[in-house]
Symmetry: C2
Subunit: 406 residues, 2 copies
C-alpha cells in the first residue's frame, strides 16, 4: 500500500462539476489500494475576489488579517471536495492547514513551513480516510493563520509528502506536464516524460509556471518524486526526480521564458568596494527582489551596473536607487520595462560550449538583440525585447530540435 | 473603563459600505474609553450561498464538513471589519472562534459552548486592541470546527460577555429594539425601553426574531444585560435585564406571533400510562422538536392528543406518528399546516385572570377561532388560523393598549 499526495490547483476545482471530476480521480487512486492525502487550492478566482474585497475596506490591508481572510478560500474548496467524496461513498475528511499541523514562522503573506506535525493526518489515514488538506496556509506558534505566498499549495503538498514519507507527490493542473517550451507560444512544444530537480528548478525559476520552484526545491531536499500532470486528461505527465539518468543526458531539456522583466542600469559607477552593497542592501530592505545582476568590466575605474526586477517593482526600485546613484556620484540611472527573458535549460551546458553559440546564433539570425546574458551550470538566459520573446522561444525550440524529444 | 461586547448581524455587514459604517460605530465606542470586543455574523447571504454550494456536491453534506465550510463566512466578515478599523487608525485584530477560545462539544451544526478560554482575547484587549471575533463557531477538544446553530452569533456574544465580565452585551441588528409586536404587522408597535429576561425569553421563543432565546437564557444565567438596538440609527434600543422593576410592573409587554406552525392530532387514543411516551420518544429520536402539547380530558378512557411542530417537520412527524397511532389503536391521525401562534407576554399573568379573558374576548370579537391554548406564568398563547394571525396581533395590540407603552 503506497501513500500518495495529490495536489489540485484552482482551475481544477473551479466549480461543482470540476470538484466532482477531481473527486472521481481521487476515488480511483484510493480504489487502487493507496492511502491518499489531497491538497487543494482555492476555487479559481476566489482569492482575487477576497483580495478585492479587502482593498475595498482598507488602502493597505494588514498582512495578518489578509492571511486569515485568504485562508478561507482553500477551506471552502477542501470541505466541498470532502463532501463530494463522501457523497460517492468514500470516507473523507477535510483539514485546515492548522488542523493538518502545517506549522510556519510568522512572516505573514509569505510564511515558511517550520514543521509538519502530522499526527492528525496519520490518524485519519489509519482510519481509512482520504485526507483533504487546505493548501497555501499554516499556523504560527501563537495560533495565528499564515499563508505561504506564491506557489503555496504546491509547497504544502510536497511538505506533506516529505513529512508523511509519501512515495510520490502528484501535482495536477490544467496542462499535461512540463513542456519543452510554453505550448501557448510554441504549439510544437512536447511534454517531457521526466526531468531532474535542478533542471526543473531552472525552468520554473526562469518562467515555466507549471510548478513553483519552491516546491521543486523542497522535493529535491527530501527526495520526493513530483509528478506534474493534467486533472482534465489521462496523459502520463512529467516526473520530476533525482534519477541518475538525468546527469548523463547532456542535452537541452526545455526553453523557459518570462515577460515580467524590467531593467535598471546605473551608468558611470565608480568601481570601488562597497558600491554593490550600497545599492542592493537598500533594495533588499525595501522588499524588492533583484534578479539578474550584471557588472561590466571597469574602464578607468568606472563601470555600469545593470540588474532586473519584476515590472511591478520597477517604480519602487527606481525610488530607492536614484538617490543612491546621486550619492555615489554615478552618472545616471536608466530603466526599461519592455523586456523579456528567454532561457535554455539542460544538463552539460558548461562542458558543451556549442549550446551557447547555437543560442546566440539563432537569436542573431532572427535579428533579435541580446541585452544581457547570464548563465548557470544548466542554464543560459538572454534578456531581449519583450516583443521578440515569442519569436525567440519558437526559433530556439526548433534550433535545439525539441519537437523530437521523447 | 468598561468592557463592552457588541454583536453585529449579517445585514449590518452585508457589503463594504455597511462594514465601514459598523467600523465607525465601533471606533466611537472605543473612543469613549471602553474596551471593545465585537462579534460578527457572516455577510448577509453568504451562509446561504455556501449551503447551496454544499448541496450541489452532496445530497446530504456531512455535518462536520458543513461546519468547517460555514465557519469561513464569519471569518471573512471579521477580517474585513478588522481591516476597516485599522484603515481608520484603530488597532484591531480578528480572531476565529477557535482562536478566541470558544470551546464546544462536538454536536456539529448545533454545538453547545462548554467553555470560553479567553486568554488570547484578554491579551489583545490589554494591548489596547479592539478584538473582532467570528460568531457562530467554536472548536472541539479535537480541534474540529463546530457551528452553534440558530442564534449562534448572539450566543457567542453573550458567552464572551459572561466570560470576560463585560458590563453589557449590545446586539445590533436592523430593527431599533424589541417591539410590543412585530412592526411589519403592526405599524403602531413601539420599541420597549427595557424588558426582563423571562419575558424576553417568552417573546423570543414565541416568535419575536430580534434576539435568539438561547442568548437571552445565557444572559439571564450570567446576569449580563443585553441591549438590542439598530446598527443603522442612534435610537436607544431595548435593554434586557433582570432589574427588580420588572417584577412589579404587572402588565402585558408585547405580542409575539409565529406563522411556522403545523398541528397533528391523534384522535381516539386509549388513555393509559405510557401512551404519551410511545408517541413523543420516537419523535425526539427522529430529531423532531415538538412544541405545544395538549391532551383533552379523557371520556370513557379515550382521549385526543394534539401537538404542534414546525411546518417543515410536519411530513417527517406524520411518518413517525402514523404507524404508532395504528399500533396503539388510536382512531386516526389528523394534520393541519395552515396555523399560526399568537401570544401575549407580560408579568403577573397568573394573578390577573383578566388578561386571559381580554385576550379570548378580543379574538372572539374578531371572529377568530382558537384551536389550542397554552399558558406559562408570563405568557398566554393561542393557536389560530394562519390567515388570521395578522388581524389577531393588531387587535391584541390595541386591546392591551400597547401603543401607549413607554
Amino acid at each position: 500500500m503506497a501513500l500518495i499526495v495529490q495536489k489540485y490547483g484552482g482551475t481544477s476545482v473551479e466549480d461543482a462539476e470540476r470538484i466532482k471530476n477531481v473527486a472521481r480521480r481521487i476515488a480511483a487512486t484510493k480504489d487502487k489500494g493507496n492511502q491518499v492525502v489531497v491538497v487543494v487550492s482555492a476555487m479559481g478566482g476566489t482569492t482575487d475576489e477576497l483580495i478585492e474585497l479587502a482593498y475595498q475596506l482598507a488602502e493597505e490591508p494588514s498582512a495578518r488579517e489578509l492571511d486569515l481572510l485568504l485562508s478561507t478560500g482553500e477551506i471552502v474548496s477542501s470541505t466541498l471536495l470532502a463532501m463530494a467524496l463522501r457523497d460517492m461513498g468514500c470516507e473523507a475528511i477535510s483539514l485546515s492547514g492548522a488542523q493538518a499541523g502545517i506549522q510556519t514562522d510568522s512572516a505573514h503573506r509569505h510564511a515558511r513551513i517550520l514543521k509538519v506535525e502530522g499526527k492528525r493526518v496519520v490518524k485519519e489515514l489509519e482510519a481509512g480516510k482520504i485526507v483533504i488538506v487546505a493548501g497555501f496556509q499554516g499556523v504560527t506558534g501563537e495560533m495565528d493563520i499564515t499563508t505561504l505566498g506564491r506557489g503555496g499549495s504546491d509547497t504544502t503538498a510536497v511538505a506533506l509528502a516529505a513529512s508523511l514519507g509519501a512515495s510520490v507527490c502528484q501535482i495536477y493542473t490544467d496542462v499535461d506536464g512540463v513542456h519543452t517550451a510554453d505550448p501557448r507560444l510554441t504549439p510544437e512544444a512536447k511534454p517531457l516524460t521526466e526531468i531532474g530537480y535542478e533542471e526543473m528548478l531552472e525552468l520554473a525559476t526562469y518562467g515555466a509556471k507549471v510548478v513553483h520552484p519552491r516546491a521543486v526545491e523542497l522535493g529535491e531536499l527530501y527526495d520526493i518524486p513530483i509528478l506534474v500532470a493534467s486533472s482534465f486528461s489521462d496523459t502520463p505527465g512529467t516526473l520530476i526526480h533525482g534519477g541518475a539518468s538525468m546527469e548523463v543526458r547532456n542535452k537541452v531539456m526545455g526553453i523557459a521564458h518570462d515577460l515580467d522583466v524590467a531593467k535598471i542600469t546605473v551608468v558611470g559607477v565608480p568601481d570601488r568596494p562597497g558600491i554593490a552593497a550600497a545599492i542592493f542592501q537598500p533594495l533588499a530592505q525595501a522588499g524588492i527582489s533583484v534578479d539578474t545582476i550584471v557588472q561590466n568590466a571597469s574602464i578607468e575605474n568606472i563601470t555600469d551596473l545593470t540588474f532586473t526586477v519584476a515590472k511591478s517593482e520597477l517604480a519602487g526600485a527606481m525610488r530607492v536607487v536614484e538617490p543612491i546613484a546621486k550619492q555615489i556620484k554615478a552618472r545616471e540611472c536608466l530603466s526599461d520595462s519592455k523586456l523579456g527573458k528567454v532561457s535554455i535549460i539542460g544538463t552539460g551546458m558548461q562542458n558543451t560550449p556549442g549550446y551557447a553559440a547555437r543560442m546566440f546564433t539563432t537569436l542573431s539570425e532572427r535579428g533579435i538583440n541580446i541585452q544581457l546574458i547570464t548563465t548557470s551550470e544548466i542554464r543560459i538566459t538572454c534578456i531581449i525585447d519583450a516583443a521578440r520573446v515569442e519569436d525567440a522561444v519558437r526559433a530556439l525550440h526548433r534550433a535545439f530540435e525539441l519537437e523530437t524529444v521523447a
